[in-house]
């Protein structure tokens, strides 16, 4: 079976240094993949390469077995939806318009797009925000709207770049839970996270971890792999402790330095 997304020996060079160095990954339909690694390890570049937002210096991107470069924008939008790291535009727009705009690929009347937007907002727990201005939302409200735009686009694969950034602990956990729920419904997800702690909120048996360090894949395996702790050490260069709480596993770096 062909992979939904495939990155083949991808290299991206910026300022003479490779920020993605001969990386190959395959994403199967229905999979949840967590890309982890330190800041600057190449997570964002990997996601942008899969979306075709940056061109590769060598290597290829394939979507459903076809070259990404040969696909039209609407076809791409049918397969992949993107939640970027930086916040959305700060223009004075209504929430429902922002969500409805993510359905551009459908070529449908505005009333249909609005109806779908309202359903998506309700699913993301933001049904009451539809007529608010995006510029007036709090961080948590904005996040719900972002997730609603992902739902509304109805793409098969979600690519999320640090979706938990700038959120309070409760919304971080909720975002990951929401994502885990979508994967259980059949969505494929690829999420870049620098906070490995958050992996405690997803189902470890169906989550695959790909660890990047300096643009290279240094470890990959299932989240419930018994070598995951060693993997984290390879990815980050420091040992990690495993902790358990309410049946979930959490990993924390074990620093040698004294905190005092």
């Amino acid at each position: 079976m062909t992979a939904l997304l495939a990155l083949n020996r991808a290299t991206v060079i910026a300022g003479g240094l490779p920020i993605l160095d001969d990386v190959s990954i395959e994403v199967a339909e229905g999979e949840m993949i967590a890309i982890i690694g330190a800041n600057g390890s190449g997570k964002t570049t990997l996601i942008r390469a899969l979306l075709g937002l940056i061109s590769l210096d060598s290597g290829t991107v394939q979507v459903e077995g076809k070259q990404l470069s040969s696909m039209g924008a609407k076809h791409r939008a049918r397969v992949m939806a993107w939640l970027p790291q930086e916040g959305s535009a700060t223009d004075v727009l209504l929430v429902e318009d922002v969500v409805a705009a993510s359905r551009y690929r459908f070529d449908e009347p505005r009333a249909v797009a609005l109806e779908a937007a309202h359903l998506a907002l309700a699913e993301a727990g933001a049904g009451d925000l539809a007529r608010r201005w995006v510029t007036e939302l709090s961080g948590g409200e904005r996040q719900r709207v972002e997730l609603a735009t992902m739902v509304a686009q109805q793409a098969r694969c979600w690519l999320l770049d640090e979706p938990a950034n700038h959120l309070d602990p409760v919304w971080r956990a909720r975002t990951l839970r929401f994502l885990d729920g979508k994967v259980s419904e059949g969505i494929t997800a690829l999420v870049a996270l620098h906070d490995v702690h958050l992996l405690g909120h997803v189902d470890p048996s169906r989550t695959r971890v790909i660890g990047l360090r300096e643009g290279k894949i240094v470890w990959q395996g299932q989240l419930d792999h018994d070598q995951f702790g060693e993997g984290l050490e390879q990815i980050h260069g420091v040992p990690f402790h495993r902790m358990e709480s309410a049946g979930n596993e959490f990993w924390l770096p074990a620093l040698e330095e004294d905190l005092s």
Partner: protein, 316 residues
């Protein structure tokens, strides 16, 4: 159905204001009053409305396309290109005999479209960032401006003066013949810009996001800049470069009804269509026995309004 009805209502209000501006100015009493009204004032108001609608809508669309509040047809070089074309026509031609209809408009078009082709080429490169397009526009504006200045230095004083008067932007000389020539371009431009509203609704949330949601960004950008330039070139050829309308009107509309392109673009069209004839009439009454060019009035009136709006926002 309420939104189209509201638009229709505002359009009627707009038309009423545009027609009413014809009565602003020195008294129309006396036997030649009707003649002045029908032959001069009403065509002027109509030309102002057409030019204002195009400049303002083009400004709104270019601001969205380049994701920059300062982007207008003036800042991407279109206006400067058209101005260079006209100056070249003034210099290369034999002076005043060629000042009239067809040479000037043709020269303005060639200038505007040449600059726009260069900008479109920059914009349609797959990896072009919006800043690149804006910077290229500024570079082209400076370059064509320099050539224009040299041309102006090289001609006799009378030509130089007429070039200066033209470059201030004025609706004074616009009669029905020029309006007839302008109208098809206005219609094509406005329909083209309205046709682009659907992708613009996506682009307003960011260029890269729009790309991942199915918008062929380079194509839309090229089309949008193309339509905007076509309209602006026609306007510059008709009445000279009129600054600020494309910058100010969209910002005012955005402050009042929000930034959604499906409201912003028609709203800007409407406000521009009212704003420019109003400014023109004000220029007619401000100083006794003389007229202030409309381009000067738009700048003098629009700049404080924009300044006020911006400071009011930053306080919130």
């Amino acid at each position: 159905m309420t939104a189209p009805l509201r638009l229709l209502g505002w359009t009627l209000v707009g038309i009423a204001i545009v027609v009413a501006t014809a009565w602003i100015g020195p008294s129309l009493a006396g036997e030649r009053g009707d003649l002045i009204l029908i032959e001069l004032r009403l065509p002027r108001a109509l030309a102002g409305a057409l030019v204002g609608a195009v400049l303002s809508a083009a400004g709104a669309v270019v601001q969205i396309l380049l994701q920059n509040p300062l982007a207008t047809p003036s800042t991407v070089g279109t206006t400067a290109g058209a101005t260079l074309g006209v100056l070249a026509a003034l210099v290369l031609g034999s002076g005043s005999t060629l000042l009239g209809f067809p040479l000037l408009p043709a020269a303005a078009f060639i200038g505007a479209l040449t600059v726009t082709l260069v900008i479109s080429a920059v914009a349609s490169r797959n990896r072009a960032r919006t800043e690149d397009v804006l910077l290229a526009g500024i570079a082209l504006t400076l370059a064509t401006g320099a050539v224009s200045s040299v041309l102006r230095l090289g001609v006799d004083q009378i030509t130089s003066l007429s070039a200066l008067r033209w470059s201030l932007g004025s609706l004074t000389m616009v009669g029905m013949d020029r309006i007839a020539m302008l109208t098809p371009f206005v219609v094509i431009t406005l329909l083209g810009l309205v046709w682009l509203i659907r992708p613009l609704e996506v682009l307003v949330s960011g260029t890269e996001r729009a790309r991942t949601r199915g918008v062929e960004v380079p194509r839309i950008r090229t089309l949008g800049l193309g339509f905007a330039s076509l309209g602006v070139a026609a306007c510059v050829a008709t009445c000279g470069p009129i600054a600020f309308v494309g910058l100010i009107c969209p910002h005012i509309v955005r402050r009042i009804v929000g930034a959604a392109p499906r409201i912003l673009v028609p709203g800007s069209m409407l406000l521009g269509a009212v704003f420019l004839p109003l400014c023109d009439s004000i220029g007619r009454v401000l100083v006794d026995q003389r007229e202030i060019p409309v381009g000067v009035v738009t700048a003098a009136l629009g700049a404080p309004v924009l300044f006020w709006l911006v400071t009011r926002r930053s306080r919130n």
